[in-house]
Assembly symmetry: C2
């Protein structure tokens, strides 16, 4: 997704009008039918949709273009400007997750053309790719040309291998060149996020020349004229000026005199999550991307960073829940994919859990009913404490608060915390055993059983806390994503070791008494 300088999708404004002129629309009766169907789907969800209600304050959903007729008087502005059976963008958006590809494509064709464009441009790339490939070949050109080069790249990366060249061929020559250059980058690199359409200035220009040069580019295709980069003839980045600074400066001074020379920048091969941390640390709105030799390649804007942050959080959450990262939104993922992406981890975890049967096998003599009663309680306490610890460490790592070298700091904290939590839970568990025990539930040795349970809970919680907090560091050390220290993985690890802790304590405390 790329920034335009404006909040309303005036990307439209910057593009030749003929681009969308040929998009076919459905015949009126059919269009009404489609609209009614989609509206029905949307209504089913409507009650629950807080966003829908709140956003629609006097908003007709239409975008009026600068080239349109003189605007209505203010009194007319509030009145709905669209016929009642016209599907609105908000209705389509509300129904969107439940529609199949055919219905989505019909829905877009039923919308007013401006709304359809705006709607399409704001869709996630995976939806854009599906739609572009679904449209008849004659229509594809108009739709794909609505997108900025970096968005086209996202679409092409998500399209079928054998569609890619065809889609590239639909672009005009300069855009195709830009897109081809961007396609060389990995999706998770800064280069895969950047737009090559930034405004450039030369250092020796005067402020006055710079303003009128940028002003001429206002109709042009650069993403933003508000931040301009000052380059030398080898395209090396010398500095940056904002349009606002230019306006506030004496028009006779040179750009070199007023530019900021110390510009935060990132390299084109930098990981996108690292880029997002640079944005957060420096409170940036846009950052230049340079190659190894310091040559400027493009810009990354903060709205792309929102998507990076959101996607990274989703991936981490899914990994932490023990699911392989989904390519599509939940409701759009096929059942087959779901079963594959969840089943793989479940099978691995099951094989891990089988070790619990093996571990218990070693204690078969001690595995008498009264002791087995407390087994789930003890091992789960450890697993829960471990999930907490791994969550905190994984998230702190994702935010850059904790780095690989800080493991020793974390161990020191977690030993104290794990012991305190373990003791607390151990006492509570003992109280439970002693009350039931005094009532005669656990035979003659209920006090010793209470002691055993208390010690085991304390040990398992301490061990779970340490294992949960260290597993993310271990994964990171071997080059894996710390988020893979999932709650189920930590729980499985602690289940197996918890059994050994429990029955070792049983043997120590109860040998000759119960076992």
């Amino acid at each position: 997704m790329s920034v335009s300088d404006d909040n309303v999708p005036v990307a439209i404004v910057d593009r030749p009008a003929d681009v969308t002129a040929e998009i076919t629309t459905l015949p009126p009766e059919e269009a009404q039918k489609v609209a009614a169907e989609i509206r029905a789907v949307a209504e089913r969800r409507g009650d629950d949709s807080e966003v829908f209600d709140l956003v629609e304050i006097g908003d007709t959903g239409r975008v009026r273009r600068p080239s349109a007729a003189p605007p209505p008087l203010p009194s007319e502005l509030a009145a709905p400007a669209i016929p009642e059976d016209q599907l609105t963008a908000d209705e389509l958006r509300d129904a969107w997750p439940l529609l199949d590809l055919e219905e989505r494509s019909d829905g877009l064709r039923v919308l007013l053309r401006e709304d359809a464009e705006e709607f399409f441009v704001a869709l996630p790339p995976v939806d854009q790719a599906a739609l572009v490939q679904h449209f008849r070949p004659g229509q594809r050109r108009q739709w794909i040309r609505m997108l900025e080069p970096d968005d086209v790249v996202d679409v092409i990366q998500r399209a079928n291998e054998n569609h890619r060249d065809q889609l590239l061929a639909l672009l005009d020559a300069p855009t195709r060149k830009e897109v081809t250059a961007l396609l060389a980058y990995q999706e998770d690199e800064a280069g895969g996020l950047m737009s090559p359409r930034y405004a450039r200035l030369r250092p020796q220009m005067t402020v006055g020349e710079a303003i009128s040069y940028l002003q001429r580019q206002a109709r042009d295709r650069v993403e933003t004229i508000y931040t301009a980069y000052v380059l030398d003839p080898e395209q090396r980045l010398l500095g940056v000026v904002s349009f606002r600074d230019l306006l506030a400066s004496d028009p006779k001074r040179t750009v070199a005199e007023i530019m900021e020379t110390a510009v935060q920048r990132v390299t084109d091969e930098m990981d996108r999550e690292a880029v997002s941390r640079v944005f957060a640390e420096h409170d940036l709105n846009v950052i230049p991307v340079v190659d190894r030799d310091g040559r400027m390649k493009g810009i990354v804007t903060v709205d792309d960073i929102v998507d990076v942050v959101r996607e990274a959080a989703t991936e981490d959450a899914q990994k932490f829940g023990g699911v392989e990262v989904l390519d599509l939104p939940y409701l759009q993922s096929s059942r087959r994919e779901m079963i594959r992406k969840r089943g793989r981890w479940l099978l691995i975890l099951l094989i891990g859990e089988m070790l619990t049967a093996t571990a218990l096998g070693f204690f078969e003599k001690e595995l008498i009913a009264v002791l087995a009663l407390f087994l789930p309680l003890i091992i789960s306490s450890g697993g829960n404490a471990g999930s907490q610890a791994s969550t905190l460490v994984i998230r702190a790592m994702a935010l850059g608060e904790v780095r690989g070298r800080d493991w020793w700091l974390v161990v020191r904290r977690e030993v104290v915390i794990g012991f305190a939590l373990g003791a607390l839970l151990g006492v509570l568990a003992a109280v439970r055993v002693l009350i039931w025990g005094a009532a005669g539930s656990y035979g003659a040795h209920w006090v010793l059983i209470g002691v055993t349970v208390a010690l085991s809970v304390t040990g398992c919680v301490l061990w779970g806390t340490l294992a949960g907090s260290m597993l993310p560091f271990a994964l990171r050390r071997v080059g894996a994503d710390p988020a893979n220290a999932s709650a189920p993985l930590v729980a499985t690890l602690v289940d197996v070791s918890g059994i050994i802790i429990y029955f070792t304590i049983v043997k120590m405390v109860l040998t000759g008494v119960l076992v």
Copy 2:
């Protein structure tokens, strides 16, 4: 945090120079000592800091101001402009998480003044609040005046109750008025995110007048001149124009003619996560905030949304891991707070787990060693499947992909998926039992035990999947955050019911045989 129009922190540029003139710095020897200490801390982490290495390409870390002397020649630009013992902002940033308040305050005072300002303005509000309160009363004024009104609000909200009025008193009168108005909003509302400093135009102005009017505001305190809102005399929002549109239009036309009248907007009481979804759905960079009567109150910019998305993801991750949301970053939270925020949930979960002992008590007769062997394996499989399902549903809800009304769609999917996964795991578990059983580990009835385990795993996985996917809906229905359907909570729920499933199947299959 608020946007300025520029990527480099030129917030400095817009402020009167005297604001920072009085900030005291440390005496030189002491400053060198502090710098050395902080650098030592930073170095300990340095090896692991990918961001640090990558960002520092020929960047001296200094910000050159427009008012400075003529810039050096390009050849000089690459040479470091700072003495070697000078602490850089990047070194301080690297060491920051490990420093206490005193060291942080010293670190800021050791930095070059421009760097210190930039650094301070980009800090999270919780750090700014701690620092402002830590500074001597005479210094507070300078630091707090560096911040935009919405940032001041964040600081004041995080300050001690009894410091708030004092801090407000440090502001100049117009800012104090703005801040007081913003303080009326909840932190999690759009009103708590917005900046009141936006550019306004009247509809009857000509384009030429509008440009020079905005140009005059370039030195002024509005957050952005690049997007201007057209208001009627009652401050009702009529439309929006971008500076770029103005530049591209005939200067003799009126603003009313070229403005976009259908403006996406949010109300001041809208929840901030809902605002962030509106940004995502419409691909916005800035959105106007209006009150109940349609009067414009301020703007929310996309960089504030990055923080909202990041914080919401952190809160959800912590809840899902079974931790109460932390107020401070992991390494800064006190052990006492950690124990409280983790202990509360662990105790609740332990009380839940005690039901496993109670449930097992009902099956004490069946709880013979050979059957207890498989207990952890069976209940954990269900818990793992449940964690997966709740992760997926919680995240899909957070992204707006699944809403409350969609529970029936989710049930239909999850029944199929849960059954398929259950059958798969059941078969694998049976294979394990049959192999060991054939080898003589489980006595005479190993085939029936295998059947029992297979059916129990299938049942527990199916049940876990359904429980995990429905719990977020149930929580939402009662007004709680779905993210509270944490992995530990789901696992505990499934542990208890898994025991009942397992021993019910044991009774059905093995009564008269083993038990």
